[in-house]
């Protein structure tokens, strides 16, 4: 797998490069800003770009904009955006119309090396990985209104939903939560029933279900704008 890294903080960039290289991933370019990222993907044609949201010169959401532009130029490119905070607004923007090959994770997830590498491969292969905090924010957002469907989720079901958003398999979820795969399946059935998300069978469609929910959750905010 060929990877481009866009991160302005040398400490993190070098750590990431070392981590990826020692795990057999080919880091073809390291850049520090948005324009650099666009040049690198044009020149190197990587499979995946790992992009920090905040990049110079504005240090606002340059990385996000660059990632969206990179995807526009190379639709097959996998993009994993790393950030120190999660905004569902950014997740929706990044996903746009096409959630294939998109990842959005908190930076500290790099500490769980196996899960992080797994996420890289899944995004590069066209999967979707959302940080579990996206789901947490969505949950928080619905409090006070949609009590019927959402507050009805048990704590354990929320844990499962968060891991589902990260695109994990039933087996991985079971391992993380230390329960049996059968129990995970039961939780998932309950979640879909409570959120009225039907027919979400296979691995990828489960993330899509979360995404659909993400879109629905954000719609009212745009009410009468």
């Amino acid at each position: 797998m060929r990877v481009v890294i866009a991160e302005d903080l040398a400490l993190l960039r070098e750590g990431l490069v070392a981590l990826l290289r020692e795990n057999g991933i080919d880091v073809v370019a390291q850049v520090e800003d948005g324009p650099g990222l666009l040049r690198a993907i044009g020149g190197h044609r990587p499979d995946l770009a790992i992009v920090d949201v905040r990049l110079p010169p504005t240090f606002s959401d340059e990385g996000l904009q660059a990632a969206i532009e990179a995807r526009r130029r190379q639709p097959a490119l996998g993009v994993l955006v790393l950030s120190q905070y999660v905004e569902t607004a950014y997740a929706s923007e990044l996903i746009g119309e096409n959630s294939a090959g998109i990842g959005y994770l908190l930076k500290e997830r790099v500490g769980d090396v196996r899960a992080f590498l797994d996420a890289l491969y899944r995004v590069a292969a066209g999967g979707t990985v959302l940080d579990r905090q996206v789901v947490t924010q969505l949950m928080a957002s619905r409090e006070g209104i949609d009590t019927d469907s959402l507050l009805a989720l048990t704590a354990r079901e929320r844990d499962v939903l968060e891991l589902m958003a990260e695109g994990r398999s039933n087996a991985a979820i079971a391992e993380t939560l230390i329960v049996t795969p059968g129990a995970v399946e039961k939780h998932i059935t309950n979640i879909f029933a409570k959120l009225q998300l039907s027919n979400c069978g296979d691995h990828h469609r489960r993330v899509l279900a979360v995404l659909a929910y993400l879109r629905v959750a954000r719609q009212p905010a745009r009410g009468r704008l």
Binding site: E87, P220, G223, L225
Partner: protein
């Protein structure tokens, strides 16, 4: 009555009458003198008397037009001094012309009058001068305090954003790098379960530290506010409360960071109250910049009865007033809540 029809008061009518009579008398004595064989020009003394009456009337009227109090009293004194000076000077002129008196005998009397008038003015207006000077000093001080406070508030907002940036690029980034290194180390300790457990503990601690720093940074400046400005941050906020908030925003670009933050926290607090306490079905946020002021209105159709002096709203009031703004809360029981903040902004 032709006089009243012309818009004159009784007093003014009497004064014009006195002037006309004086004029008539002056002409009359001149005629008598002329008919009576002329000689010593005695009508000059009558004219002096008549002139003093008219002069007293005019000077009195002028003094009466001055503002009440010390200024009017001083004007009255100077009117008398002026009339006295005229009497003395004219008398000297007449004695000089008619009787051939050489020396300017009123000199000392005039000097005395002027001295008395000045002394009185000085005493009477002394307080006023001091008060005026005090007011000027106060005004200058208020202007300076207003200016320095707004500079301080702006500087504080800029400083807070800098701190947030520093946290992001400094401590947070280092902690992330630390978890990354710990993760790499963990991969190498498959055969050393005790070391592995220690590393995992360390990682958990680092994660807690990162989460705490993130909450801290978010409390300083919500990232969307810093990155995308007020409208985007409010949209995200409204989405988070899931109240189906309608947002209207006009001309809310390029606001000062302090104004942006204050507006954001007003809206956040108001929406929190709507979601938590009011049981609102509908909420709305209106942002509008008028002449040098950003008006923020947050309304809901909930149960009302919010305490405008409760701790949350009191905190907001302090925040808004620090910017010379104002906050009003209208929350009649059963008829929804309307929170309006007016924040002066720089254009």
């Amino acid at each position: 009555m032709p006089v009243l029809a012309a818009g004159l008061s009784i007093g003014e009518y009497l004064r014009s009458l006195v002037r006309r009579l004086a004029f008539l008398a002056a002409v009359l004595v001149l005629a008598i003198w002329a008919i009576g064989g002329q000689g010593y020009f005695w009508p000059a003394w009558v004219w002096l008397g008549l002139g003093v009456v008219v002069l007293l009337d005019s000077a009195g009227a002028w003094a009466w037009r001055q503002p009440r109090g010390a200024v009017r009293r001083v004007a009255c004194v100077w009117a008398l001094v002026g009339v006295g000076a005229v009497i003395l000077t004219c008398t000297w002129l007449l004695t000089w012309r008619l009787a051939g008196v050489e020396s300017f005998w009123p000199a000392w009397a005039l000097l005395g009058l002027a001295t008395a008038g000045s002394a009185y003015s000085l005493i009477a207006l002394h307080d006023r001068v001091l008060v005026a000077r005090g007011r000027r000093a106060l005004r200058a001080r208020i202007e300076m305090l207003t200016r320095t406070r707004s500079q301080a508030v702006d500087a504080q907002a800029v400083e807070l954003r800098r701190i947030e940036r520093d946290l992001h690029d400094g401590a947070q980034a280092r902690l992330v790098a630390l978890t990354l290194q710990l993760g790499r180390a963990e991969l190498r300790t498959q055969e050393l379960p005790e070391v592995r457990a220690l590393i995992q503990d360390a990682q958990r601690e680092a994660h807690h530290a990162i989460a705490e720093l993130r909450d801290l940074a978010r409390g300083i400046v919500p990232p969307l506010l810093a990155d995308r400005g007020l409208v985007a941050a409010v949209e995200s906020l409204a989405g988070r409360y899931g109240l189906g908030t309608a947002i209207e925003a006009t001309h809310c670009e390029s606001l000062a960071p302090a104004v942006e933050s204050a507006a954001y926290f007003v809206i956040a607090e108001a929406l929190t109250n709507s979601a938590k306490h009011a049981g609102a079905g509908r909420t709305w946020v209106r942002l509008r910049t008028g002449r040098r002021v950003l008006v923020v209105v947050v309304g809901d159709d909930g149960s009302g009865g919010a305490d405008p002096y409760g701790s949350g709203l009191a905190g907001l009031r302090a925040r808004v007033e620090a910017l010379d703004g104002s906050l009003s809360v209208d929350s009649p029981r059963g008829h929804g809540t309307l929170v309006e903040a007016r924040l002066p902004c720089g254009w």
